[in-house]
């Protein structure tokens, strides 16, 4: 058997805990499950893409090892689309709070107008790709041996940070989901109320420690995406010469700084929301929505729709989720 020696020098705690081979073994167990399905597919059509990347090793390689190239390329792609694209949309949407609670609420309403489709869309385009990206990412981290202590080059520092931020973002997202997403309600979280978008978020983000952790999470995610953009370009062969790589790294820095500004702007904006004022606006918008849908404005508290609805500061529900020209960033 090959002995994968994990040096005690590995600076990432995870790399110490994991053994390369151990990671491979758990992988091949997963592969066994996938494999049975794969065989069935194979019988239907022998020219499935999976047959493209036949490993040369004699000893019956698993689905995952046979498709390592494809899986790593999908991993690379998934970081950009849909996961990276989602991050951009998510941060831009949240930053709309800088244009007032009404602006943010109208974007949240737009997203929630998907109704019963929201959950499957969330899973197919956000959670499952993220889980895939994270699973392969952890396998990569487990297989690597960071050595930035001996070789403190800029590229190596970025390599190490890419892995560190990946783990930070993973932990952050889990906490973020428990804290705000309705799925976290069972665990005492789920504080985000889509009908009171800004006010409920503002309350949840108020504690100083929460604000700091969110800043860390946002900066890590933005670094991971913008640096990932640069490595993706090398992986797929978009930029090949050292000069092109240097230019590309400037592009990724600019993207990172802009997106970081948007993300931190969203955080600051969210924390600065005046909860009471926001509630008034949100309730009014909720009332309008119910009226338009022909439902009674039930449960609508004090500031509901008593008379004719007053014009709302930023009612444009037609604004695209990315359209945040008014964020003021």
């Amino acid at each position: 058997m090959a002995v994968a020696a994990v040096s005690p020098k590995s600076i990432l705690p995870l790399a110490c805990g994991f053994d390369f081979i151990a990671a491979r073994c758990s992988f091949s167990r997963l592969a066994a499950v996938l494999c049975s399905r794969h065989v069935a597919v194979d019988r239907i059509d022998p020219s499935t893409i999976t047959r493209l990347f036949v490993s040369e090793s004699e000893s019956n390689p698993s689905f995952v090892t046979r498709n390592q190239f494809l899986i790593y390329r999908l991993f690379s792609l998934s970081g950009l689309v849909p996961v990276g694209a989602f991050l951009v949309v998510h941060l831009l949407t949240n930053a709309s709070v800088l244009a007032g609670p009404g602006a943010f609420q109208s974007r949240v309403d737009l997203i929630h107008s998907l109704g019963p489709l929201l959950v499957p869309i969330e899973w197919v385009f956000i959670f499952l790709p993220m889980l895939f990206h994270a699973t392969v990412g952890f396998a990569i981290i487990a297989g690597g041996l960071p050595n930035v202590g001996s070789y403190p080059y800029a590229g190596n520092v970025r390599y190490t940070l890419q892995r560190a931020t990946g783990m930070i973002v993973f932990a952050f997202i889990i906490w973020h989901l428990i804290q705000l997403h309705w799925m976290g309600a069972a665990l005492g979280g789920g504080q985000f109320d889509p009908h009171h978008a800004s006010s409920s978020a503002a309350v949840a983000l108020q504690p100083a420690i929460v604000g700091i952790l969110y800043a860390v999470g946002i900066v890590s995610a933005v670094f991971h995406l913008s640096n990932g953009l640069w490595t993706l370009g090398i992986t797929w062969g978009l930029w090949t010469s050292p000069a092109a790589m240097r230019r590309a790294s400037w592009v990724s820095i600019v993207v990172g700084v802009l997106l970081g500004g948007v993300g931190l702007g969203a955080l600051v904006g969210m924390r600065n929301v005046n909860v009471e004022d926001a509630k008034v606006i949100e309730d009014r918008m909720e009332g309008v929505k119910r009226m338009l849908e022909g439902q009674p404005a039930a449960g609508s508290p004090a500031a509901g729709v008593r008379a004719a609805p007053q014009p709302i500061s930023n009612p444009s529900p037609a604004a695209s989720t990315t359209g945040v020209s008014t964020t003021g960033i």
Partner: protein, 291 residues
Amino acid sequence: MIQIAEKSDAASAGAKESDRIVRVRVLRQDAPGQESYWERHAVPYEPTMNVISILQRIAAMAQSQDGRHVAPVAWDCNCLEEVCGSCTMLVNGRTRMACTALVDKLLEENPEEIELKPMSKFPVVRDLVVDRQRVFRALERVKAWVPVDGSYDHGSGPRISPDEQEEAYPLSTCMSCGCCLEACPQYTKSEVVQRDDESAEDFDKRRKAAFDRGFIGAHAISQAMLFNSHPTGKMIADERLKAITSQGGIQMCGNAQNCVAVCPKHIPLTRSIARAGRAATVWAIKKLFDR
């Protein structure tokens, strides 16, 4: 030991210079699989020494700093001019060729001592000598050659333009030293030990299979690109692309770019890797639609 770092006038400081001692710390290992241990040596300073000449002095003295009689430290070297690639070791913690590691420069970095360790990604044979079979196995995997063997004369080969030559030449200077692999955070050690009841052939097969599971390495990717750009070598370009996209192929690269930073021949490895990435992208898409 501070005076070692000072640039003294050789003529006036002749007497002083002969008193200078260069302290060396070597990580030794008596045989494969055995525990390694540190040993200190003190070598009289001479001008224009390199790490190989230090090792030669240590071998001649066969004595550690504390006066114990010890077996000479084993090391590998051949050309002594940074073209054969056999003397790779960790000098002051970094992978480089021992023959071009000049003692004066090393003492400028750290006047206290010079630290010598065997490469960490390859099995130690003894002391500073490692087994770099995997480096060559990777070249075999990517068919790093131009296939011209045959029983009849193929005539003269196609012309290569000066521009192409200029692109290819740097890549052709690779000496399989393994520095790029040693510094690569994605390249991890693979040590396979022969079992008592195992024949040489079975062991070789098992070891190759183990090598092939791991990362192929920057040098092999670069050589694949070199031979894929050669007009005759191109004929098996697809086989090379298949090799670098199989298990342990280019997808294992994490873009740390240490390889290019440490390559003693200054080979544009990351350029080769990106070109290989591009070729693999095109190839995979073509394979997908050409069936």
